[in-house]
Symmetry: C2
Subunit: 229 residues, 2 copies
Amino acid sequence: MVSERTSGKSGNMWMDPAGIEAESMRRIEEALGREEACAGGMKWQEPERSVVRRVIHTTADFDFAGNLFFSQDAVKKGREALAAGKPVITDTNMALAGISRPSCLKFGNAALCFMSDPQIAVRARAEGCTRAYASMGYAAEHFPDAVYAVGNAPTALFRLSEIIQSGTSAPALIIAVPVGFVNVVESKELIRKVCMEKDIPLIAAMGQKGGSPVAAAIVNALFYGIPEI
Amino acid sequence: MVSERTSGKSGNMWMDPAGIEAESMRRIEEALGREEACAGGMKWQEPERSVVRRVIHTTADFDFAGNLFFSQDAVKKGREALAAGKPVITDTNMALAGISRPSCLKFGNAALCFMSDPQIAVRARAEGCTRAYASMGYAAEHFPDAVYAVGNAPTALFRLSEIIQSGTSAPALIIAVPVGFVNVVESKELIRKVCMEKDIPLIAAMGQKGGSPVAAAIVNALFYGIPEI
């Protein structure tokens, strides 16, 4: 059944992940271009556009072309941080599973999630907070200048907001893309306000949408766009 | 900052994951109800509705209320399979990471993904296919009546379609929710045709949308709805 779909030009196109990805990106650019033509101008320039494209690739949801927010030079600064081997901290094991291992190996980045760590459960119980909240506190103590990729928990963003406001840590980049219906919008508005005040680079999906794969896709889009040396 | 938001009624509502989930589900039901009132009737009944609700909870995307497809009694049969301890096979480690461990422990289900297994890479190279395609072939040899949750790779669905057509395996349930722009729509149409012909239970997200968290959310919605004995 698959053999019927083989392509003479590119070998078995149905079995070529790199070819499929390139074709996907071409179709995304085409659709983005159509939207922009209707709106009367290009909404996203590079390097931000590379991130927008990859998030749409991950979700098939063009709403992200409207709701992504980038602070000034956030993509550039995020790439510099990753190229310098800064660790990446996530708020879910799902996001962690989505981060490109070859990229981490190439640039020497740890990729860490403390959500399942027994001591985080102990802390959360003792402090009456969520594990996500406790895990960000723990991470910031040990990795104050990491890249933080939050795809699930508003309380993770609340903790990061407190930490940034207190000045005890200055993350290299915050990726703020929780998904959902309760506290999600508010947590993103808050982290945006705090990051702007304290000049912390931020990439966020405003509104209700986001998720662990979006968080991982943004990290990967940053990795893939680091210029070869 | 978080303390300002504590609620006298439910303790610190911002720190109560169960309370937040219940409130999220209430808001989803409210929005679904509004949509249905406009359309002039209830689109989803239980038990399918519990799956629709959890997918929207995971994505904040109400498109899934339109694009989910359930074969006759798929939810009931899926729950019976999980309650009987059938293994769950995924096509990504991300989907695997999203499946409820407490539920697997409760019902004695293995949850497995072979994508990173070295022998799958060897097979894929030898056969000139994707790792997803090779991993489904391997899984079906060893776990012919498992629940298959495919959230990423159209080629995984192509392989499962071949296997089901050949009659060598009869999965307990196929969850077909890859996301993307190339081969995705076609792979879902194909597996739907094959599952209908061979009477294999199917839950699918038709169209381009889906993803690993959607696959995991569907598995979890099935788990959470298994009646207490």
